[in-house]
């Protein structure tokens, strides 16, 4: 039975390294995604949004030419 014990366990270190590596990659991606998501949206509310329609001289001139 003692002969069945594995003598060299070093090769299993690959599994450990792969696990640690993939966890690190996930953490890196997650941190970047988090930064993007944390960016404030540039949208403004309807109350804050100014500059609505007003009949400027430019627009009056357009109406005048359309009446021709």
């Amino acid at each position: 039975m003692q002969d069945q014990q594995p003598k060299n366990l070093k090769r299993r270190g690959f599994l450990l390294a792969a696990g640690v590596g993939s966890a690190g990659a996930v953490a890196l991606v997650a941190s970047r995604v988090g930064k993007d998501a944390a960016k404030p949206l540039t949208t403004v509310s309807a109350e804050e949004k100014t500059g609505s329609y007003a009949e400027t001289p430019h627009i009056s001139n357009y109406y005048r030419t359309a009446r021709v």
């Binding site: 403004v44 329609y53 009949e55 627009i59 357009y62 109406y63 030419t65 021709v68």
Partner: protein
């Protein structure tokens, strides 16, 4: 509060596609997306009619009703706009719109790969800050905030495409319809579109009198 509307005078539209070009140029619309296009009925037949079509900024917009993310909103002036950050590119609005206004940059593609919906904004931008880089990149130029009207209408050489305050636009069109004085398939051509030459002279004289009166005030 003024209510914004488009109106295309089919008697005057000469299918030059100037409105389409003006729109694409003004907003740097991506290749394959047409926010506006000219449709001709009975093409090649005498009496054919053309109209310029884009988003009609409906009072009860079906696109707004079907959007699952509720990305549409309406401004105080009745302009239907949308938030591209909330759009998921599902295409429901495209199927709901009777004018085919919603456009997708990636064309017909399966599995939601169409991209964010793009449509006419009445040159009123989007929810971003007026005139900002983000607003231009997503929605194009915001001419309304600059005190101007949509580029397509301002560019129209025959003034077939009218845009602006619905009351003024309907007045302009009513005047034209009254001058024409007739309707039906037989009514087409220069006289129908612009009135008879003597009427044009009368209008010019009226306008000159008005300008003199205004100048005298």
């Amino acid at each position: 509060m003024a209510r914004m509307k488009f109106l295309c005078d089919s008697e005057r539209c000469i299918e030059c596609n100037g409105c389409v070009t003006a729109c694409k140029n003004e907003h740097e619309v991506p290749w394959g997306v047409n926010r506006r296009r000219v449709v001709t009925v009975n093409d090649g037949v005498p009496g054919e009619k053309s109209i310029s079509v884009s988003c009609m900024h409906c009072s009860d917009a079906p696109c707004m009703a079907v959007c699952p993310t509720d990305c549409f909103y309406k401004t105080d002036e009745g302009v239907v706009l949308h938030n591209k950050d909330a759009c998921i590119g599902c295409g429901y609005c495209f199927f709901a719109c009777p004018f085919g206004a919603p456009q997708f940059p990636n064309g017909p593609a399966a599995f939601g790969a169409r991209g964010k919906m793009d449509k006419c904004t009445f040159c009123a931008g989007g929810p971003e800050e007026n005139g900002s880089k983000e607003e231009f990149e997503k929605y194009g130029r915001n001419r309304i905030s600059e005190g101007k009207l949509p580029a397509c209408a301002e560019m129209c050489s025959t003034k077939a495409l009218l845009a602006g305050d619905a009351t003024v636009v309907s007045d302009i069109f009513r005047d034209r319809a009254l001058r024409r004085g007739k309707a039906g398939d037989a009514a087409w051509g220069w006289t129908t579109a612009y009135g008879k030459p003597e009427q044009a002279q009368e209008r010019t004289q009226e306008r000159t009198r008005e300008q003199k009166q205004e100048g005298g005030k």
